[in-house]
Amino acid sequence: MGDTEKIETVTGRSARGSSRRKPKNSQLPYAIVLIALVGALSWFLDQRDNGTFWLLLTGLAFGYILQRSRFCFTASMRDPYLTGSTTVTRAVLVAFAITTIGFTAIKYGYFINGLPIPGMSYVVPISFATIAGAILFGIGMVIAGGCASGTLMRFGEGFQMQFLSLIFFIIGSLWGAHDFGWWKYHFISKGKSIFLPDYFGWLGAVVLQLFIIFLLYIAAEKYQEVKSNH
C-alpha cells in the first residue's frame, strides 16, 4: 500500500493537476497541541481513580488504528455486493480469527481455575429481534457511510455528515431503549443464548469456528476473482 505515496512524490510536480495544487502546509503543530490536551485529560481522569483513563487510552488506540489502516466494518459487508471487492472483508475475518483465539485463551483460563468466565454478557439470546435489529443496522450503516465505530472515527476526521448521523444514532438508541421492553417480552425472552463450548467443548468450538472463518476467507477470495474477471 506504501506505493501510493511513493508515486505521489515522483509525480508530485507533474504538469497534470499541478495547477490545482496548493502551497504545502503542516498540521503537526495542531497534533502537538492535541497530544498535550489528551495528556492533560488522561491525567485528570487518572486522578479520579475510577479506571476511566485506561478506557480513554484504549479508545485512543482503537481510533488511531481504525483511521490509520482505514479499517471499515461497513465496507466489509457492503463492498462484496456493491463493488465486488472482498479485501476489507478478509481483513475482518482475520481479526475474528485472532480475537477468537485470544478471547478463548482468557476465558478458558478462568474456566479451568473454577472462576466465573469474563465477558459472558456478550453471549446473548438469539431471536427475531437479533435478525430485525441487525438488518436495520446493516441498512443504516451503508446509508450513513459508517457503523458505530466508523461514525466516531469519521467525526474525528472532520465529517459534518457523520456528526449528524452520530446525533441521530443517539436518538435512535434512546428510541430503541424505549421500545426494548416490547421486544424483550415478545421475542428476546423466547430466544436462547448459545455459547459454542457448551455444545462442542472448548477445543471443538475453537476449531469449528476457525474452520468456518477459513472457509469464508477462501470463499471471499474466490468471489473477488470471479467478480474482477468481468
Binding site: 478506557l55 488506540a61 489502516s69 435478525i131 458505530a148 472515527m153 441521530f168
Partner: protein, 185 residues
C-alpha cells in the same frame, strides 16, 4: 514564526516521517492491532469492546437534562444500568472510550497532516445521515449491540448470536446498498 512553520513543513516531507505517521497501513495491520487491543480490553476490563451501548446512556442523560425520565423504562431498570446513569458520564468508562476513538482518529489525521473539515454538501446527505443514524441506533438496541459489540465481540466470544447478527447484517447491507445507489448518490 515562519521559521517554525518551515521546519514543520520540512518534517512532513521527510521520508521517515511519512513512513511512520502518514502512509496508510494495510488492512491486515489494522486487523492484527485491533485484535490485540480487543484481547487487551477483555483481559484488563473483563468485558470485550463495545461502542453503541454507550449511546443509549448518552441519550438518557440528554433526555433527563431536558426533564425526561427513563427510570420506568425496562431497558434502564436493571440495578447496573441505574448505577451507570446515576454516576454520570464522567465516571462512565465506555463514554471515555468512545471519546478516545474520536480523539484517536483526529490525532491520526493531524499527525498525518491530512485534516480537512468536510461540510454537509446536499440535502441527500442530511437525509442519509438522519435516516441511517436512527436505523443504526434502534437496530443496535434491540439486537444487543452493533458490529463491534454484537458482531466482532460476539463472534470472538464464541457466541452463536454473533454469526446470526453477521448474516442478517449482510442482508441489511445489501438492501442498504440498493437504497444508497438509488436514492443517495
Amino acid at each position: 514564526m515562519s521559521q517554525f512553520k518551515d521546519t514543520m513543513v520540512k518534517i512532513s516531507e521527510n521520508e521517515f516521517y511519512k513512513k511512520w505517521l502518514r502512509i496508510a497501513w494495510p488492512y491486515l495491520t489494522g486487523a492484527i492491532l485491533l485484535s490485540l487491543f480487543q484481547i487487551v480490553t477483555l483481559a484488563t476490563t473483563g468485558n470485550p469492546w463495545g461502542v453503541s451501548g454507550v449511546f443509549a446512556n448518552w441519550g438518557a442523560w440528554i433526555y433527563e437534562a431536558f426533564g425526561g425520565n427513563v427510570d420506568k423504562w425496562y431497558y434502564f431498570s436493571s440495578p447496573g444500568a441505574q448505577t451507570t446513569l446515576n454516576n454520570g458520564f464522567i465516571n462512565d468508562s465506555g463514554t471515555w472510550r468512545n471519546i478516545g476513538i474520536i480523539l484517536g482518529a483526529l490525532l491520526a489525521v493531524l499527525l498525518a497532516s491530512q485534516f480537512k473539515l468536510k461540510k454537509l454538501k446536499s440535502t441527500k446527505q442530511v437525509i442519509a445521515a438522519v435516516l441511517g443514524g436512527t436505523l443504526m441506533g434502534y437496530g443496535a438496541r434491540i439486537a444487543f449491540g452493533c458490529n463491534i459489540g454484537a458482531l466482532f465481540s460476539g463472534i470472538a466470544s464464541l457466541s452463536l448470536s454473533g454469526w446470526v447478527f453477521g448474516a442478517a447484517m449482510f442482508i441489511g447491507a445489501v438492501i442498504g446498498s440498493k437504497l444508497l445507489v438509488k436514492f443517495f448518490m
